[in-house]
């Protein structure tokens, strides 16, 4: 049975604690063998590269060097971490100038990257490694009646992931369909929510969030289902500020895919951290209970 090195990333230990809780709950329930990567460090997200290019490759490289081998491939829950780690791995594997410096740098701390280590997003592990059939078999609750808007954000399918269309990935749709919920055709599923600029260019970022919330509202989604803690924070915590700016009145719950899948697997909403959102999920939960 394959073992994974679970890399939660900083957000899952703070703003997205409920993502961490639900991810672990789902992984346990699906008998995925994993252990949290020991003493992992911040991946640097998109910020480090803007400050010190080489360090932005070295910081995630340290994590990579601690995964692989019997520790297993790195499974990442946060899109930003996912891209940062993949970016470092790509630079390392390309064997160019940066690759040379990554290797040299890691030597300073007596570490090296295992050539075979891979970086996977938790969503991919569920869809490709565990498999939809398995999840369907283990599902005990049918989420029929719930309308879900799948939202990946940018960094799940971009810059590039083998076999995934950069504009139109389908993994989330395929996974959510297993839950019996109605999965909306969501045009803005890979549009930027502006998260990485929320602290520096707030107003514009809020407008981008507005676009996404607007479509979800238009297609009267009961929830937007996300794969990234930063998108979640943006769309959830800043929803009132979006309303303030646009004079709108959106109240759309922003849930992690692990939370929705958890519900289908029969796990308790509380145990999945549903309710930790700043935008109330009561309406969503009501519908969910009716379905029962």
């Amino acid at each position: 049975m394959k073992h994974y090195a679970y890399y939660p990333g900083c957000s899952l230990h703070a703003t997205a604690a409920d993502y961490d809780v639900s991810a672990r709950a789902v992984m346990n329930h699906l008998d995925i063998s994993y252990s949290e990567l020991d003493d992992w460090n911040c991946c640097g997200a998109t910020a480090l590269a803007s400050d010190s290019y080489l360090f932005s490759l070295l910081a995630p490289a340290r994590n990579l060097a601690m995964a692989g081998g019997d520790k297993g491939d790195m499974v990442v829950a946060c899109n930003a971490c996912y891209v940062a780690e993949k970016r470092a791995l790509k630079a390392f594997k390309e064997g160019g100038e940066w690759s040379k410096r990554i290797t040299e740098g890691l030597l300073r701390i007596d570490k090296e990257i295992d050539d075979d280590v891979e970086v996977l997003h938790l969503l991919q592990v569920l869809v490709n490694e565990v498999g939809l059939e398995e999840i369907e078999n283990k599902a005990v609750r049918n989420l029929e009646g719930l309308k879900l808007a799948p939202y990946y954000g940018c960094q799940y399918s971009r810059p590039e992931t083998e076999g995934i269309h950069p504009e139109s990935p389908m993994d989330l749709e395929r996974l959510l369909e297993v839950t019996g919920a109605e999965v909306l055709d969501f045009n803005r599923k890979t549009r930027c929510c502006g998260s990485s600029l929320m602290s520096t260019k707030e107003e514009h970022a809020l407008r981008l969030c507005g676009e996404i919330l607007k479509e979800a509202d238009y297609r009267d989604a009961d929830a937007i289902v996300v794969t990234c803690p930063l998108c979640q924070l943006n769309l959830d915590a800043f929803q009132p500020r979006v309303n303030g700016l646009l004079g709108s009145d959106y109240r759309i719950p922003i849930l992690f895919f692990t939370q929705v899948v958890g519900l289908a697997l029969g796990l308790d909403p509380k145990a999945l951290g549903i309710g930790k959102q700043l935008t109330s999920c009561s309406g969503f939960l009501e519908k969910y209970r009716k379905g029962a």
Binding site: H165, E167, S168, N187, K214, E215, Y218
Partner: protein
């Protein structure tokens, strides 16, 4: 006995060779080589005076061997073979040293290039010393030509050859000829109607006494070689009798099985039994078994057969294999249009009003699904239409090359929208406007004057904006001349998609022995001097199977291919290379290894003598048998062991 009065001629090719190779040094080096009596260098050996120098020496110095150190033999071997022959020297006593393509053009350092050139010349001299005069044999040519593909290029080629009095078989895999052009409405830059100029040619094909038309057929196998290709053609079961069917179309009307019309690019429905389009040649129905209720077992049906007034429909026919012999073959298999993949940034396949160029051709065509009215999926006349260039072309994610026709086609679309949708705004997004052909720039100017908005930039995306009145397509892209990003609400988007090689190009290439370039199109023999020839003697290329082309260029290219084919057939005889394997029976141990190896069954075993017998006529001269003969009984003219050994000694002499 080896040639020992050899003349060596080093070509400067202007500065192409002399720029990196010290030709004088090579000349002096060659002069000292064994058997060399004359060694000269000259600016252009292939020029008239250049050839004269060689001829003069052959006569006056009575040379028995010649080495020309110049370009690739693939370029000028025939030229110099002819030259020496004119001076009375056997053309196989001439060898070339490739010191341009494989030396001066790929080496920067003069000393290195010169050293390499010397080795190559030494090798050629060593080889020619071992050469023996050879006489080419001649075969009769079957005075018939095969044309594969019934688009405008294939039609043109077939008519040209047929008009010159030779028999032509035109094979088309679809049920009717006409190809892509038959779908068009107008043609740029003259805007004359495509049907008006193509249909008469299609009819001419059908009625031409020298043309045998085989539609719904494909070439299965090609044997033999230049002058006498033996071709196996598969006539797919059409289930409708070509003679009896009157093309009345009742069958199609009443057919309960429906499918999207290929001819209308999916914009309309057709019966499972159908006539591809109104002007189809032949105007005969065909059954598409996939969608036929009888064939896919959904029902007994056979309604069509019951209704057919001329009893032309019969079921469960089988494909027929026909064998024909041809002297020459013209491949005109055309292109396929790029279809943006699922999830593409323009929403093609997602938003019904984002359509391809070919779909627009059908939309605006009087015989199309809307009788030529340009309407949106909601049936409204569009008020704003965007036309996007380079969709899939000039794009590392798809086809890196320029598809060549899209700029002009886009201008044509813009004009048609303006003409058919009064006061509609047209926005054309282009990266570079390529109006290179005769009358094209003038056409561009004309469309500009019609008030089309030209925006220099590749449109980045089409999205649907949610507005109070519902969803609306918005096209977003940079106007690079203004340096601003523009967002334009539109009712219709026309994507001008790339021209790609046919999906079955690899299979076709294999069947005819052709090669595909990096872009997937079939490779011509020489980009400039032999654009319709291929490395396979007697097989020629016409139209877009070789490269993206517009109609005028395709027709011109097809004409070229046709004249190549005629010229070959008209010559009556085809020269057979004397390069063939033979067997010295007294040395043959009768081990039969060669027999197993020969790809052409050119070797048989003589039980009485217990030796292998080689059939020179069937041998193509690959030499596989020779390389494997344990007793060295097998040999091959012009590529004998001694000759290749001599070349090896030649190139290694300096080491």
């Amino acid at each position: 006995m080896p040639a020992n009065r050899i003349g060596v001629y080093v070509c400067h090719c202007g500065t192409n060779i002399a720029g990196t190779v010290d030709c004088e040094a090579v000349r002096d080096f060659a002069a000292k080589l064994p058997g060399v009596v004359v060694s000269r260098d000259y600016k252009y050996m292939c020029s008239e005076p250049g050839q004269e120098i060689i001829k003069k020496d052959i006569r006056e110095e009575n040379l028995d061997g010649v080495v020309v150190a110049s370009c690739s033999p693939r370029m000028h071997e025939p030229t110099f073979q002819k030259a020496v022959a004119q001076a009375g020297l056997n053309s196989y006593m001439m060898e070339m040293a490739n010191i341009r393509e494989q030396c001066s053009w790929v080496t920067e350092d003069m000393d290195e290039a010169t050293e390499k050139a010397k080795d190559l010349v030494a090798s050629a001299v060593a080889k020619v010393r071992m050469n023996a005069p050879l006489e080419a044999t001649y075969n009769d040519i079957t005075p018939r030509a095969l044309v594969v593909g019934g688009g405008v290029a294939g039609i043109e080629a077939a008519l040209r050859i047929a008009d010159s009095g030779y028999e032509v078989v035109l094979v088309e895999k679809e049920a009717s000829i006409g190809g892509k052009m038959a779908k068009f409405d107008k043609t740029f830059p003259t805007l004359d109607c495509a049907a008006c100029i193509l249909t008469p040619k299609m009819v001419e094909v059908a009625q031409h006494p020298n043309i045998k038309l085989m539609t719904y057929s494909e070439v299965e196998k090609v044997d033999g070689f230049v002058g006498n290709f033996e071709v196996t053609i598969r006539q797919k079961a059409r289930d409708v009798d070509l003679e009896d069917c009157t093309g009345c179309g009742i069958c199609s009307e009443k057919c309960p099985g429906k499918a999207a019309s290929e001819f209308d690019e999916g914009l309309s429905q057709r019966g499972a039994i159908y006539i591809p389009f109104a002007q189809a040649i032949p105007n005969v129905a065909v059954i598409d078994r996939e969608n036929c209720l009888y064939y896919n077992g959904k029902a007994k049906c056979q309604v069509c057969a019951k209704l057919c007034p001329s009893d032309a429909i019969t079921f469960d026919n089988e494909d027929v294999l026909v064998k024909e012999t041809f002297g020459a073959i013209v491949v005109a298999t055309g292109f396929q249009s790029f279809r943006p993949e699922e999830g593409n940034q323009w929403g093609f396949g997602k938003y019904p009003d984002v359509i391809s160029g070919l779909q627009f051709e059908r939309l605006t065509n009087a015989s199309g699904p809307t009788d030529g009215k340009v309407k949106t999926s909601k049936g409204e006349v569009p008020k704003a239409v965007a036309i996007v260039h380079c969709v899939g072309s000039r794009d590392a994610n798809h086809a890196e090359y320029c598809s060549r026709i899209c700029c002009m086609a886009s201008l044509k679309f813009a004009h048609l929208v303006k003409e058919k949708c009064k006061d509609a705004e047209v926005f054309e997004f282009y990266i570079d406007m390529r109006a290179f052909g005769k009358g094209y720039e003038e056409f561009y100017n004309r469309i500009q004057e019609e008030g089309v908005h030209f925006i220099r930039g590749k449109s980045a995306e089409v999205s649907c904006q949610i507005e109070d009145e519902g969803e609306r397509l918005v096209l977003r892209g940079e106007d690079t001349l203004l340096g601003v990003v523009r967002e334009i609400p539109v009712d219709m988007v026309i994507l001008n998609t790339a021209l790609l090689p046919q999906a079955d190009a690899p299979k076709v290439a294999e069947t005819f022995g052709l090669q595909q370039g990096e872009d997937g199109f079939f490779m011509e023999l020489h980009a400039k001097l032999a654009p319709t020839k291929t490395p396979v003697d007697g097989v020629f290329l016409a139209g877009t199977c070789q490269a993206p082309r517009d109609i005028p260029d395709s027709v011109a290219h097809a004409g070229g291919a046709a004249s190549e084919a005629q010229q070959l057939i008209a010559s009556g005889k085809v020269k057979m290379s004397p390069v063939a394997a033979y067997n010295e029976e007294e040395k043959c141990s009768g081990c039969k290894i060669c027999i197993a190896l020969c790809p052409y069954d050119a070797i048989e075993f003589d039980e009485d003598k217990g030796v292998a017998v080689f059939n020179q006529a069937l041998c193509k001269g690959c030499g596989t048998c020779v390389a494997s003969c344990p007793t060295k009984a097998a040999g091959i003219k012009h590529f004998e062991d001694e000759q290749i050994f001599a070349q090896i000694e030649g190139v290694c002499a300096s080491s």
